[in-house]
């Protein structure tokens, strides 16, 4: 490792090291990993550490399952902006006869999924997505504070260990006026950087944009960057590119509009969230401090309680 440089040259080097040390295992599908107990106990320590930074101490905390209602997913408008990342669940809902037909197609090596139909659930693309549909539509004057944790799915198969298809995020969400939402994002960016710094991660913030799809997406991405709507907390794990391990996002009135959340004057509520990428932070810890948790700096192990 060069002085002040990234601990690994390429994502391949990092993945191979983690695999050989048994920190996680690859599977037949790129970007889908089996985690070890070492990984999990570090990740749970990261979640506890992040949760310890809460300021709005009365905010409800929710752990979401890795599926969400299809109808609520559609309201997020994610399909419009990121169709290439979506994961929708199909189920078998047929008779014995249709089951036999399915098996016949399977035996012939055909597309058996044509006998399935879309279920009432999809995979959440972001952890705050299952939240908005459950909130009161009349947003109180003081705004709403919420915390949520759960799984996100994004279909972007890759051998880069930072690019997992399914991963966990802990989010602090605020819904209210534009000023309330912006203050939340900015205060939490500083708080987030400090929290990650306590784990010995050389983290910094960068203005960022989401990978919006297509022509319209190019404009959304340019707007997002130009309007400074999104910041990422990044760390150098390889020489190839910085790795985002968290982000703070101002959604403007996007979710307020699509979920019918409004302020006292009837206008759509604004929202912002800070997401701590629990699997990405865990990855960063193993990359920066090494594959043997017992050898990590004492203050880091103490902060993680592991």
């Amino acid at each position: 490792m060069a002085e002040g440089g990234a601990p690994y040259t390429t994502p391949d080097d990092l993945r191979t090291t983690l695999e050989e040390a048994g920190v996680f295992r690859t599977t037949a599908v790129d970007g889908v990993y089996h985690r070890s107990w070492d990984w999990e106990r570090v990740l749970r320590g990261v979640e506890q550490h992040v949760m310890g930074k809460r300021v709005a101490t009365d905010a409800p905390r929710r752990w979401f399952p890795p599926v969400m209602p299809r109808e609520e997913f559609l309201k997020t408008d994610y399909l419009r902006s990121f169709p290439d990342l979506v994961g929708s669940i199909d189920v078998f809902d047929g008779t014995d006869k249709e089951h036999r037909a399915l098996l016949a197609v399977l035996e012939d090596g055909g597309d058996w999924t044509s006998h399935l139909t879309p279920g009432e659930v999809v995979l959440p693309s972001s952890v705050c997505h299952p939240l908005y549909g459950t909130l009161p539509t009349d947003v109180p004057e003081d705004g709403l504070d919420e915390e949520c944790s759960g799984w996100s799915f994004r279909h972007e198969p890759s051998l880069d260990p930072a690019r997992m298809q399914m991963f966990r995020i802990y989010e602090y969400v605020r819904i209210g006026t534009p000023a309330q939402a912006l203050a939340h994002r900015d205060e939490w960016l500083d708080r987030g950087l400090a929290a990650l710094g306590e784990l010995g991660l050389p983290v910094r913030s960068e203005a960022a944009n989401d990978p919006f799809f297509g022509r319209v997406g190019k404009m959304l991405a340019a707007n997002q960057l130009e309007s400074s709507l999104k910041y990422e907390m990044v760390v150098d794990l390889t020489d190839v590119r910085p790795t985002a391990i968290g982000s703070s996002n101002y959604h403007e009135d996007h979710f307020g509009d699509t979920f019918g959340l409004h302020l006292a004057d009837g206008t759509p509520a604004h929202s912002s969230c800070i997401g701590f990428g629990l699997d990405r932070i865990t990855l960063a810890l193993f990359a920066v401090h090494g594959v043997d948790v017992a050898g990590w700096p004492a203050e880091v192990r103490s902060a993680l309680q592991c």
Binding site: D77, R215, V216, K218, M219, L220, A222, N223, Q224, E226, S227, L229, E252, D253, H254, D257, T267
Partner: protein, 87 residues
């Protein structure tokens, strides 16, 4: 002639820009983002313009400033040779 294009832009904004104010109260050079147009709303305005005049904005025009004011939108349409858009 150009007032016709401006009127059409104002009508599209009233329908799609989700401004916090009445579009009639804005001058041609007032900033639409300051008036409450969000990033997503500006994309809807962009698509509505493409439908209205049967044009496609090239990549380099798909940015915030192109849709920042009525005058800017008209200038962009003029660049795409929309009839009546030139001042």
């Amino acid at each position: 002639m150009s007032s016709t294009v401006t009127d059409s832009i104002r009508a599209l904004l009233a329908e799609h820009a989700r401004l916090g104010v009445d579009v009639a109260s804005l001058s041609d050079t007032d900033d639409l983002y300051t008036a409450g147009m969000t990033s997503h709303a500006s994309v809807t305005v962009m698509l509505a313009c493409e439908d209205e005049w049967d044009v496609e904005f090239p990549q380099q025009m798909l940015k915030k400033s192109t849709f920042a004011s009525i005058a800017n939108i008209r200038a962009a349409l003029a660049e795409l040779e929309v009839e009546g858009a030139s001042a």
